[in-house]
Each structure stands twice: as structure tokens, then as C-alpha cells.
């Protein structure tokens, strides 16, 4: 089952031509020494590796005969701490067998800066933009980020970043692809823990899902190295689109005004505004579709390293109190019904979907609530800290 030794590529090799691209290869040199054999990146992207002293303690019923390798940390940074319109970040990571990597975003949330409203009216350079870009092209206005991780057998990725915070009028699309070894079985499978979450924007500025477009797609593929065939194991895709381009240019201002109006309402009344009758143009399409949540997210767990965490989430989910049940043993005639949609202000669901994947989806009132809830669960279960060190939970 031994893999042939990878030829070590020169760290000075510069194959990166396009801005925003980064390339990382993590290999395990004998006897048990994780080494970044490739680390390249280009402005505005910055990748900072770190090898913490943390060594995971092998359990008695260890996953493999050898003790797990030390996790290498990779910090994902962009200049300015966010993405401007037209920025394309492309990070490609390859984890050789038995390696472990922790990826975090030490700058805090991924800020998606706004697309200037008048960017398509002849202004060739967007304010604050890093390069000249063609006007009249929504696609090039869009900030894009793609992450492509290949996880070898027995390797593990722990990717718990801060949420993405799309500013008002921003456009953003991200595609995160994780490829695992299809031939690996049982405890040799690749492991991954991926969190992807998005917030309503800067709540301090009253933003409440006021961006134009946010799309996040996470895919897990199983690739057979021998045949080169790959098969989709999991796809999680969320599209938040205010559909303003459908309405034409006239109504765009209208919908903006309307959404501001809605904002005022929610600030002043603090009650559920009555839902609009079907047929009327909704105030803000994204607000309507995410309500009552201020942050929505997905956690994907797979592989032997995260088996216990997945089981823990499933157990926590199935042991949640039944919705609409009564406490019959109580003497009080009507037990107070909890605010159902907001038990602890987090609404969540966990499912063991297929191929051993556990998919957790959650919606919460705000970022702090979600962070507290998720961080609490991950710390209580403890396997992330045990396998990757407390620093892996840096963003939570």
C-alpha cells in the first residue's frame, strides 16, 4: 500500500503567473516529518505557513499503526483583509498521504467589498480597484475565490474559517473543491472538516442581506488515481441572489429603497413584519429567503479523523427536544412552548447523507450566536482540539 515517494519540487520554482493564485503541497518526509514542498502565491493573495509545536496524542485504538503526523497550519490572507470587485483568488492545496493541515483566516471574516453601483456606466477603473478592468461586465465585477484541495489517503484537512461578510451591493462567488482518494477504504480514507458560512453583512452599519449576489459551492469528489475517473460524493450549493438584474435598471433603485425601508422596520419594530402576499414584489429577496437568520452555514464532516465528531453532531441533533411536544408530567396544564425557530437562537439540522458524510446546516440570529454555538459544540466534543490543537478553533 506504500505510495511511491513524490519527487520533491524545488521551492524556488515559480509557476505562478496569475495574480491571486497560490499553490501548496504538503508532503510527509521520513520518518514522520511534514514538509511544505511547494508554497507559492501571488499578490493580492498571501499564504503563511506555520508549524506549531502541537503533536497529536495517539489514542490506544489508534487510526493506524503509526502515530498521526503533526498538523501544519496555513493562514489564508489577502491584502486589505478582503476581496475587492474583480479579485480572483485561486488556492490549490495538495495533501500527500498521512499529512494533516489546518487552514484558518487570521484576518477575521472574509470581507466582500461592494461593487460600485456605477461601475457599469463608463467608469473604467473602479475606486480602490487593483487593476484596470473592462466595464459593463458583471462577471468581472464579481469577487471570486476558489479553493481546490486534494486530500491523500489518511491525510486530513481541518478548515474552519471565519464567515464571509458580503458588504452592501457586493457580488461574490466561491467554489471549494475537495478531492479524496476513491480507492482508500476504512481507516485509510481521507478526512475533512469544512465550514462555510455567510453573514448578513455589517450589522453595525445596519446591513441586512443587502448584497447583490453571494454564491458558495462546496464539492467533494472521489478520484481514482489509477483510472483517473472521479465521482461526485457531495455538493452543497447555496445561492443568495437579490435578482435585481431581473427587474431591469429602473427597479434597482426601487428595490434598494425598499430594502432600506425594511431595515428601518426591523429596527424600529423588533417584530416579525407580516409576510408579503404572493404576487407582490418582495422587499428584499434574500432577506425573505433567509429569515429569521442573520447567518447561515454548512459544516461538512467526513473520514476517520472526524467520525466521532460526526457521530456527536448526529447524537446532539437527534436528542434535541421534539418540536411541539408537551411536558405531560408537569403539573402545569400548559408547558411553556419554547420559541421553536430559535432554540438558543440557532436552528440547525444534521444528517448522515451518503458515503459516511455528516452534513450540518445551521442558521442563527447573528454571527456571535453561531460562533458561540459551533465553537461550543466542537470544544465540548474535543476531537478537533485533540487531533489538530486548540489553534484549529482559532476562528470560533
Amino acid at each position: 500500500m506504500r505510495q511511491p515517494a513524490m519527487p520533491i519540487r524545488s521551492p524556488f520554482e515559480s509557476s505562478i503567473a496569475k495574480p491571486g493564485q497560490g499553490n501548496v503541497v504538503l508532503s510527509l518526509l521520513p520518518p514522520n516529518n511534514p514538509t511544505l514542498t511547494t508554497l507559492t502565491y501571488k499578490y493580492p493573495l498571501k499564504l503563511v505557513p506555520r508549524a506549531p509545536g502541537f503533536v497529536p496524542t495517539p489514542e490506544p485504538d489508534a487510526l493506524s499503526d503509526s502515530c498521526p503526523s503533526r498538523p501544519i497550519h496555513l493562514y489564508l490572507l489577502t491584502y486589505g483583509g478582503g476581496l475587492l470587485p474583480g479579485d480572483h483568488i485561486e488556492v490549490s492545496i495538495k495533501l500527500d498521504p498521512k499529512t494533516r493541515m489546518v487552514v484558518t483566516t487570521p484576518q477575521g471574516s472574509t470581507k466582500i467589498f461592494k461593487t460600485e453601483p456605477n461601475s457599469d456606466s463608463g467608469v473604467s477603473v473602479i475606486k480602490g480597484h487593483r487593476k484596470k478592468m473592462p466595464a459593463n461586465d458583471h462577471l468581472s465585477d464579481m469577487s471570486q475565490q476558489s479553493l481546490d484541495v486534494r486530500i491523500g489517503r489518511e491525510a486530513a484537512l481541518c478548515y474552519l474559517p471565519d464567515p464571509s461578510v458580503p458588504y452592501k451591493n457586493s457580488r461574490y462567488a466561491q467554489l471549494q473543491t475537495f478531492t479524496v482518494d476513491a480507492a482508500a477504504k476504512g481507516n485509510q480514507r481521507s478526512s475533512l472538516c469544512v465550514l462555510d458560512w455567510v453573514t448578513q453583512g455589517r450589522t453595525s452599519r445596519g446591513e441586512n442581506w443587502n448584497f447583490h449576489f453571494w454564491k458558495g459551492r462546496n464539492e467533494v469528489w472521489a478520484m481514482d488515481d489509477k483510472t483517473g475517473k472521479s465521482r461526485l460524493l457531495l455538493r452543497d450549493s447555496v445561492i443568495l441572489d437579490d435578482e435585481s438584474e431581473d427587474l431591469g435598471s429602473d427597479s434597482e433603485n426601487e428595490s434598494l429603497e425598499a430594502s432600506e425601508e425594511a431595515e428601518l422596520k426591523s429596527h424600529s419594530l423588533h417584530t416579525n413584519t407580516p409576510p408579503q402576499q404572493a404576487g407582490l414584489v418582495p422587499l428584499n429577496v434574500i432577506q425573505e429567503r433567509t429569515r429569521p437568520h442573520g447567518v447561515v452555514g454548512t459544516l461538512i464532516l467526513s473520514g476517520p479523523v472526524f467520525d466521532s465528531l460526526g457521530a456527536y453532531f448526529m447524537h446532539q441533533f437527534t436528542s434535541q427536544p421534539r418540536i411541539g411536544s408537551r411536558n405531560w408530567s408537569s403539573t402545569s396544564s400548559s408547558a411553556p412552548e419554547p420559541a421553536l425557530s430559535t432554540v438558543g437562537d440557532v436552528t440547525w439540522t444534521a444528517a448522515r447523507v451518503r458515503a459516511g458524510f455528516v452534513l450540518v446546516k445551521f442558521g442563527a440570529k447573528d454571527f456571535e450566536t453561531a460562533k458561540h454555538w459551533l465553537g461550543g459544540l466542537l470544544r465540548e466534543e474535543g476531537s478537533v482540539a485533540r487531533e489538530f490543537g486548540e489553534e484549529a478553533l482559532f476562528c470560533l
Binding site: R231, A278, I323, S341, A351, L359, G363
Partner: protein, 322 residues
């Protein structure tokens, strides 16, 4: 349509018109207002825009000719839009039951809450499933891949169960009922329909030959509803617009039917919504929006819906399976 009336099959046309009349105003109203290029295409081919004389003349209502089944896709259209089609759709509320339980304060105005849900539900089914229906119709030979990809994209067990149960029921109906009439080789069978019929048979074989157990990454065919719907509609001779429209309409009907049984509204109110212009506009709008969406680009536009559907399992009492 009109040239067909000159053929000896006029009787059939009359009988079909009568069948159509039984669906009432609903269907004719559904397609009054076409503004999109997509729907104008539909209008020209629309089998329910017949001359009014047909409605009046129903002398030959009782002379049914089974050999003439293939004369028009209208018959297949009516079969597939029938709420009595044994797919078990009545068992699923597509998250409505859970939504109502999660939004108790809104029960003060259940009708308004329902309107919101219906709109979200249609947007969601159109963005997540409709691309698979269209892809199944356009490329029946990729059915197995589409099935795998949709299975990978379905985020919770509850939705998966609902989709697979209805998809397998559809295969059952096709095998036991429709295939005999629609897959018979004949001059009128076009190549696409034959490919589609073959694809269903191959897929059904794959479904039966695979054991239920999944081993690691070797996933087995599941039988999800959306791509199968596209392929079956292709095999039965519907055009793509009809296929997409019935798919979304059937979904709306299922949700409305669930609303009636969950005591959100009465049956007349439900029919009123079903017949309404705003529902038609919503459906046509969503279909138009997803018409060119590739399956890779399909995704959930209503994240809250995933949560409600997933949490259906947590309801203390349930009358639906989803």
C-alpha cells in the same frame, strides 16, 4: 392540432377535449399571459388551446380508442398531471408541516404564512431540482450520473427519502403501466423518446441489481425523482416546456394539497390559489430563470428551507413524511 382534426382520429380529439374540460378552467387559464420567449413557444404548441367547438361537441365521449394513445402528447400530459398518479406525492408536504411548526406566531395569519412558504418552495424546487428535470429530458442517457449528482446535492435525509420514494414509484408506474403504451415501437415514436425509454429500463435494471448497502465511496443508484421525471416525460412524448411546467405545477399542487390537509386553508381557497395568475407568473418566472441552468450550477436559494425540511424529523407529531 387543427390538421389532426381532418384525420379519422377526430373522435379521439373530441374525447381528449372532453377530458381536458374535466380539468376545468384551471388549465386554460394557466397559460393566458405569456410574456417570455419560453412561454410563447409553449403557447404555439400548447395542446389545450383547441377550438371551442370541440368543447361543445361531446357526442363521442364514450368511444375511447386505446390505439390512438400516441396521437397527441395531450393524453400523456393529462396522465402525468393527474393527482391520482400513484407516486405517493400526497405523503409529502415538502417542508410545509415543519415550516408551520417553526413559525407558530404566524399561525395568526396562516394564509399569509402559507403564501410565503409556497413562493419559497417553488423558488427552491426550481433552483435545486428543475435543472435535473431539464437535463434528464435533454440527455436521457446521462440518467445515472444525474441521479448520483442529485443524490450528492440533497442535503438531508428527509428530502432524500421523499425524492427517492417518488422516483422509484415513477419507475414502477412506467414499468407496470406506461411502458406498454408508450414504449411500443411505432412510426410516431421519435428517436429521443426511444433513447429515453431505454435509459429508464437500464436505470431500473441498475437499481434492482444493486444491493441497498453502500460501501464507502461506491455509491449505488438511488432513483431520485427529478431526473427520472425528465426522462419519463421525454419517453412519453411531452415537449420540454410541458415537462418543466408540469413538474413545477405538480409540486405546487402537492404543497397546496398538503396545506388543505394540514388545515391551513379550505379546498376552494387552495384551488383559488392554484388557478391564480400570480401563481402562474411565479412558476413561469422560476422556470424561465432556471431554463439554462446547468446541473452543476443548481443550488439552494432558500437556505431556511433546508433547515425546516431537515428538522421535520424533530416534530413531535407528524402527518406527512416530509
Amino acid at each position: 392540432m387543427l390538421d389532426m382534426l381532418k384525420t379519422p382520429e377526430k373522435d379521439l380529439q373530441l374525447e381528449i377535449a372532453q377530458l381536458e374540460a374535466r380539468l376545468g378552467d384551471l388549465r386554460s387559464q394557466l397559460h393566458v399571459n405569456y410574456t417570455t420567449p419560453l412561454s410563447s413557444h409553449l403557447e404555439t404548441k400548447s395542446p389545450w388551446t383547441m377550438s371551442s367547438e370541440l368543447y361543445k361537441n361531446n357526442d363521442s365521449y364514450n368511444t375511447f380508442q386505446s390505439t390512438a394513445l400516441r396521437a397527441s402528447p395531450l393524453h400523456a400530459l393529462l396522465l402525468l398531471s393527474d393527482s391520482a398518479l400513484p407516486l405517493g406525492s400526497f405523503a409529502y408536504s415538502s417542508g410545509l408541516e415543519s415550516y408551520l411548526a417553526h413559525n407558530k406566531p404566524l399561525r395568526t395569519s396562516p394564509s399569509a404564512a402559507f403564501h410565503r412558504f409556497l413562493k419559497l418552495s417553488i423558488a427552491s424546487i426550481a433552483s435545486t431540482s428543475l435543472p435535473y428535470v431539464l437535463a434528464g429530458y435533454r440527455h436521457p442517457e446521462t440518467l445515472e450520473t444525474l441521479d448520483n449528482d442529485l443524490d450528492a446535492s440533497t442535503p438531508c435525509i428527509v428530502a432524500q427519502r421523499a425524492s427517492v420514494a417518488q422516483g422509484r414509484a415513477l419507475i414502477g408506474v412506467w414499468e407496470r403501466a406506461f411502458r406498454a403504451s408508450f414504449a411500443a415501437p411505432g412510426p410516431s415514436t421519435d428517436a429521443g423518446a426511444r433513447v429515453a425509454a431505454g435509459a429508464i429500463d437500464d436505470f431500473a435494471d441498475a437499481l434492482k441489481s444493486n444491493l441497498e448497502v453502500e460501501e464507502e465511496y461506491d455509491t449505488v443508484p438511488k432513483g431520485h425523482f427529478a431526473p427520472l421525471w425528465g426522462v419519463v416525460c421525454r419517453a412519453m412524448g411531452l415537449d420540454l416546456q410541458q415537462t418543466a411546467y408540469i413538474f413545477v405545477l405538480n409540486h405546487a399542487k402537492a404543497v397546496l394539497s398538503a396545506a388543505v390537509r394540514a388545515s391551513v386553508m379550505g379546498p376552494y381557497q387552495a384551488q383559488n390559489i392554484l388557478a391564480s395568475q400570480s401563481l402562474q407568473d411565479t412558476m413561469m418566472g422560476r422556470i424561465k430563470r432556471e431554463w439554462d441552468t446547468q446541473v452543476e450550477e443548481a443550488g439552494q436559494v432558500v437556505p431556511a428551507l433546508d433547515l425546516w425540511v431537515g428538522r421535520h424529523e424533530l416534530l413531535y407529531s407528524r402527518i406527512f413524511n416530509s
